[in-house]
C-alpha cells in the first residue's frame, strides 16, 4: 500500500494537533517509578556489597580506623557536604550497636572492608563498617540528584 502524501496544510494541522495532545497528556517522559526490586538489589546484591566494602576500606585506611573521623570523611565523599553533629552522633551509635550485635552473632562469611592494607580489622567491626557504608550508598541523598 502506497501512503497518500498529505497536503501541506493538513500535514501541518496533524502535526500541530499531535504536538498539542502529546504535550498535554503523555509526552514520553522517562519512567521514574520506584520498584521494590531496586531496593532489594541495592541492599542485597553482591555488587552493592563490593561497593560498600570498598568505601569502608577507603575510610578505614584514610582515618586509621577512627569512627568519628570516618564519619566526618564519609559525608563529603558520599553526599558532597559536611556532616551535621546529629548525623555524626547517629553514625557512631549505629557503628557501636552493630559491632556489638556482630560480636554476638558473627557474620555468615568474612567480608572485611577492602583495600584496608595489612591492618587486621576485627570481623565484627569490619562487618559494622561495611553495613554502615551500605546504608550510606542506599540513602536517597546519595541515590537521587537534587
Amino acid at each position: 500500500m502506497k501512503p497518500v502524501a498529505p497536503s501541506p496544510a493538513s500535514a501541518r494541522l496533524k502535526r500541530g494537533l499531535t504536538a498539542l495532545v502529546l504535550g498535554m497528556i503523555s509526552c514520553a517522559a522517562r519512567d521514574r517509578t520506584v520498584v521494590t526490586s531496586q531496593a532489594l538489589t541495592l541492599l542485597n546484591s553482591t555488587d552493592a556489597l563490593a561497593h560498600a566494602r570498598a568505601l569502608a576500606g577507603r575510610l578505614w585506611t584514610a582515618c586509621k580506623g577512627d569512627a568519628s573521623r570516618a564519619a566526618a570523611a564519609a559525608w563529603p565523599l558520599v553526599f558532597s557536604r559536611a556532616i551535621t553533629r546529629a548525623e555524626a552522633a547517629q553514625a557512631l551509635a549505629f557503628l557501636q550497636a552493630r559491632e556489638a550485635d556482630w560480636t554476638k552473632v558473627p557474620p555468615g562469611a568474612d567480608a572485611p572492608p577492602t583495600g584496608g592494607g595489612e591492618v587486621l580489622i576485627p570481623p565484627a567491626r569490619g562487618a559494622a563498617w561495611v553495613e554502615w557504608c551500605l546504608a550510606l550508598l542506599n540513602a536517597n541523598e546519595f541515590v537521587y540528584v537534587d
Binding site: G23, T36, Q90, V105, G108
Partner: protein, 310 residues
C-alpha cells in the same frame, strides 16, 4: 513559583505542560471525564500505587493463571478443528487467498498443512477436543474455549507481543500490568503480578512489562529454589544478623532528607524499602512448594480421581 529548595523547581517538562497546556488539559480532562473515560480508571494515589481498588463489577476470580506456551501445540491441533483445512491438506491455498500479503512468504507457492488429529466432543457442552487429550475431554464442561479471536500478525515476535499486550508493536502494558494497575494488590508483602518462565521469551521481558504505565505495575519474575526472587536475602557476609537495624538507620537518613524536600518519589522510595524488607520474609514461604498442603492438588469437585496427586 520559585522556591529555595532545588528539588521543587519545575522541570522543563512540567513548565511546558503548565504554561502551554494548562487550560487545554483541564478542558480535555473534563471532556474525557464526561465521556466516562477517566471515570473508569482514576489514576492511583501517589501514596500507595498498589492500594487495592474495587473492580467495576463483582469479581468471580481471586487469581488468574495465564499460561503462555511458546511453541506449544497449535489451536488447530487441540481445541479448534478446521475441517476445510484438513480437506485441503497438501494443496496450495485456494485462489481467494492469493492476494494475501504476508512477510517473507509468497502465499501462492505454499502448501496447506491440515491437522493430523482426530477430534471428539466432550461433556454436555460438546466442546471438540483432540483425541490426544482424552483426560481433558472428560473435563470439557469445566472449560471455556474461545474460538472467536483472530488477528493479522504473522510473525513470531510480533505475535508474542500481540498475545501478551494486545499490540503487535512493543511498548504496550501487559495484561498483568493492567490488572495490577486497575485492581491494586491485596497482598501486602507479595507482588500481585508474578511471572515464571523456563527460558526467556524471544521479545524480552517487555512481554510482561508495564509499557507506558508506572514501573511499579510490571511483572515480578520469580524462579525456583531458595533464590526464587533475585537479591531477596542479604549476601552471606551480612546474613544472620538483624537487618532491621540497617534499615532503621537508612530510613532515619531518608526521612530527614525527605523532610527538607517535597517529593513523592522520595516517600515512595522509603516505602519501597519497607516493602522490600517485608517481602524478604514473606516471599520464600510463598514460593516454597514443599510446604504446600496435599488437598490443593485435588480437583475442586473431586470428580476425576486421576487428577489427584499420588
Amino acid at each position: 513559583m520559585w522556591t529555595e529548595t532545588k528539588s521543587s523547581l519545575l522541570s522543563r517538562r512540567d513548565w511546558l505542560r503548565h504554561a502551554g497546556g494548562g487550560l487545554g488539559s483541564l478542558a480535555l480532562t473534563s471532556l474525557l471525564a464526561r465521556a466516562g473515560w477517566l471515570h473508569a480508571a482514576e489514576p492511583p494515589a501517589a501514596a500507595n500505587p498498589l492500594a487495592p481498588r474495587p473492580p467495576h463489577f463483582p469479581a468471580k476470580a481471586k487469581a488468574v493463571i495465564h499460561l503462555f506456551r511458546h511453541g506449544g501445540p497449535s489451536h488447530v491441533d487441540t481445541f479448534d478443528p478446521k475441517p476445510a483445512l484438513t480437506k485441503l491438506n497438501g494443496q496450495p491455498p485456494p485462489e481467494e487467498f492469493h492476494q494475501l500479503k504476508l512477510p517473507f512468504t509468497d502465499v501462492k507457492k505454499q502448501k496447506l498443512l491440515g491437522s493430523r488429529q482426530s477430534f471428539s466432543r466432550g461433556g454436555r457442552s460438546g466442546v471438540e477436543i483432540c483425541d490426544s487429550l482424552p483426560q481433558l475431554q472428560q473435563c470439557a464442561d469445566e472449560l471455556c474455549v474461545i474460538r472467536s479471536m483472530h488477528h493479522a500478525v504473522f510473525n513470531h515476535t510480533p505475535a508474542i507481543w500481540f498475545l501478551n499486550t494486545g499490540s503487535a508493536l512493543p511498548g504496550r502494558a501487559s495484561l498483568g500490568a493492567w490488572l495490577a494497575y486497575g485492581l491494586g494488590n491485596v497482598a501486602d508483602n507479595l507482588p500481585s503480578f508474578v511471572v515464571m518462565h523456563t527460558r526467556p521469551l524471544k521479545p524480552g521481558p517487555g512481554v510482561w512489562g508495564n509499557g507506558f504505565l508506572p514501573a511499579v505495575y510490571q511483572g515480578t519474575r520469580i524462579g525456583t529454589g531458595p533464590m526464587a526472587i533475585p537479591n531477596l536475602s542479604p549476601p552471606p557476609q551480612l546474613r544472620g544478623s538483624n537487618q532491621r537495624a540497617l534499615l532503621d538507620y537508612l530510613q532515619d537518613l531518608n526521612r530527614s532528607h525527605a523532610a527538607q524536600r517535597h517529593d513523592y518519589e522520595l516517600d515512595a522510595r522509603i516505602a519501597s524499602y519497607e516493602l522490600a524488607y517485608r517481602r524478604q520474609s514473606a516471599a520464600p514461604e510463598a514460593v516454597d512448594i514443599n510446604r504446600e498442603v496435599l488437598r490443593c492438588f485435588r480437583w475442586p469437585s473431586g470428580r476425576p480421581s486421576r487428577w489427584r496427586r499420588g
